[in-house]
Symmetry: C2
Subunit: 343 residues, 2 copies
DNA sequence: ATAGAAAATGGAAACGATTCAATATCGTTA
DNA sequence: TAACGATATTGAATCGTTTCCATTTTCTAT
């Protein structure tokens, strides 16, 4: 385990001072071309890589974005992977680098001591406790962004989400295909509650008699798959006439799908299904799942852009207008089809 | 954006020197109880959090484990999430903290400049190019562990995997249930090739006439789900007599499952299916997927323990014998059942 | 009460980078 | 050629921490 190569080694080999090397690396100030070449050669020859820790201590900004994921959000969901991928890809196109950290917002805040805290700004994914924000504000006073849930945090900025327009698109899609008996399977907690309420209001606008019993929601905190199967089972017993199922979270889809297979009900021939989240599951299933959800590339771009804007006030305004609400996109795929038609 | 609180602030408030504060925080050396309490109070009052960057520069070890994920492995697979979760959980029980970084092993190695490189050791997930190891060896001379694939890297250590014993368990399970016509769906590239070869050898031990046409493998680099459906389709056309399907990677399961649904073939009543990887998909499907794969908690423990052992030679030998090959576990679930029985 | 050992503490160097003030170099013009 | 401004470069201070060494305090045993 040889010693790590430092900027001093480079300076010595190139026969210049460390300050000059630093300036060449960061492209700040000028440098004589011949000298610059000598330094760059030395860097290449030694395989020098700057120590980002040392840089982060001294420099005003570390060019690092921290991605904090709430622990529970890291479990039992299929969209996280897609979002992370999009975030990392977008960050990769900027001058920033990033690290990911999973934090347990409920646990003893002492564990927060483990936060590297060298980031210029934070992207928060999932729902954090208020205590956590308080700790963040005191101990890591850097800008932060999230979406959906607002942040009780001075340096925090939350992107608004236009949930209702997504629900509207979905409702209109199903109605346009000729569906009337649309069942809903989901959680009665958290975001799902908001979704089902919006859906109910929407569909009653078209069909005032839509019965609440078509909505099969229960309090679910784990075993989403199994509960998805159970809820689907109960719903189909209660309303055998349903022609479409709306799963409020993709986590419920697999269970519901299994129940359909058990009953030898085929998608989309016998029944249409639609998900929510646009997770990787939606694209991986066969037939592919029609879904409402974020365009993760857009969401990632929004989050990163508005964070960078907050971190470096001198840069021009971000590509995306952070003040504008994020729209949910509608992704029609092969799990929905006009009623009565066959593939 | 107030200034960050440093160890100096704590020392001033507690009326001691920074050295003493540092010693109290790190529990190194002794400290008078009354003074210790005063310091701890000051830390609490100021919400002081040590700057891990500064620590990492000075200290011989940063108590940080870097998790490097090869980019392609982060896409289109369902086991990564389970493994990461297990890794983070296990690391959380040690004195180490961690960061995750997705690196594109194929991209210009300049992007490697973005590696924080403050880690005491690295856990590598996925298949990296040889160039990457060379870069790692020169620029980040810290111990690293991975599994399955061996590492052409001086400081690297790869845990061996006993693939064959996992295949044996699976084969014996299916034969014990009465299956003879077992179809295989998977990739003809990479690890899947190894798996199918081992399976073929195994099953011919019991059933010498097992025809190679039951193995439906093709070169797949993306759209695993769709290819899974296509391969399953072709296989069922060719061999309508199959009573069990072995999916070499869980990525193929969703597509295959969709094809079964389309044909109104029910699992496990009409056909049994078995996966490989023990991904979160296996537990999320209904019926739950019988699978062969790593017990991710064990794998995570092995990886972390052997890395920690490499990082701190003075600690007692790890809980797990790093020299011993990792066994694949067999997880019987409800997607397999004795032939001819009904639920 | 006191010597000596043990424990606790303070002060300063060091880690590897950036950055700023001071200095050196260069090219241009009077 | 000397003076000047512009540009390059150096050297040192600095960031927040750990760690070493010297010093002071406390404890124990005579």
């Amino acid at each position: 385990m040889t010693a790590r190569i430092t900027i001093n080694d480079v300076a010595k080999l190139a026969g210049v001072s460390v300050g000059t090397v630093s300036r060449v690396i960061n492209n700040t100030g000028c440098c004589h071309p011949s000298r610059r070449k000598r330094i760059e050669d030395a860097i290449r020859e030694l395989n020098y890589v700057p120590n980002l820790n040392a840089r982060a201590i001294r420099a005003v900004n570390s060019n690092c974005i921290g991605i904090l994921i709430e622990k529970r959000s890291a479990e039992n969901n299929f969209w996280l992977q897609s979002l992370l991928q999009a975030l990392l890809q977008y960050i990769g196109r900027t001058k920033f680098h990033s690290y990911i950290q999973v934090v347990d917002s409920q646990a003893d805040l002492n564990q927060a001591m483990r936060l590297p805290g060298n980031a210029d700004g934070l992207i928060l994914i999932g729902r954090f406790e208020a205590d956590f924000f308080a700790m963040l504000e005191r101990s890591f006073p850097v800008p932060a962004v999230t979406y959906w849930e607002s942040m009780p945090y001075a340096n925090g900025h939350s992107l608004a989400v236009n949930l209702d327009s997504g629900i509207r698109q979905l409702t209109e899609h199903l109605l346009a295909l000729g569906h009337r008996h649309i069942g809903v399977v989901g959680n009665s907690l958290g975001a799902d509650a908001e979704k089902s309420a919006l859906f109910l209001r929407r569909i009653r606008g078209y069909w005032p008699d839509y019965p609440e019993s078509l909505i099969a929601c229960a309090e679910v905190t784990d075993h989403y798959h199994r509960r998805g199967a159970e809820l689907t089972n109960a719903l189909l017993d209660r309303h055998p006439e349903v022609t479409a199922l709306f799963f409020l979270s993709d986590s419920f889809v697999l269970g519901g799908y299994g129940e359909l297979n058990r009953r030898r009900i085929t998608v989309p021939d016998d029944i249409n299904i639609i998900g929510f989240d646009n997770s990787c599951l939606a694209m991986s299933m066969v037939p592919e799942l029609t879904s409402v959800g974020f365009d993760f590339e857009v969401l990632a771009a929004q989050l990163v852009c508005s964070l960078i804007a907050a971190v470096t006030p001198e840069i021009p305004p971000p590509v995306f207008d952070a003040a504008k609400a994020i729209e949910l996109e509608f992704y029609p795929r092969s799990s929905t089809r006009k009623v009565g038609t066959r593939g």
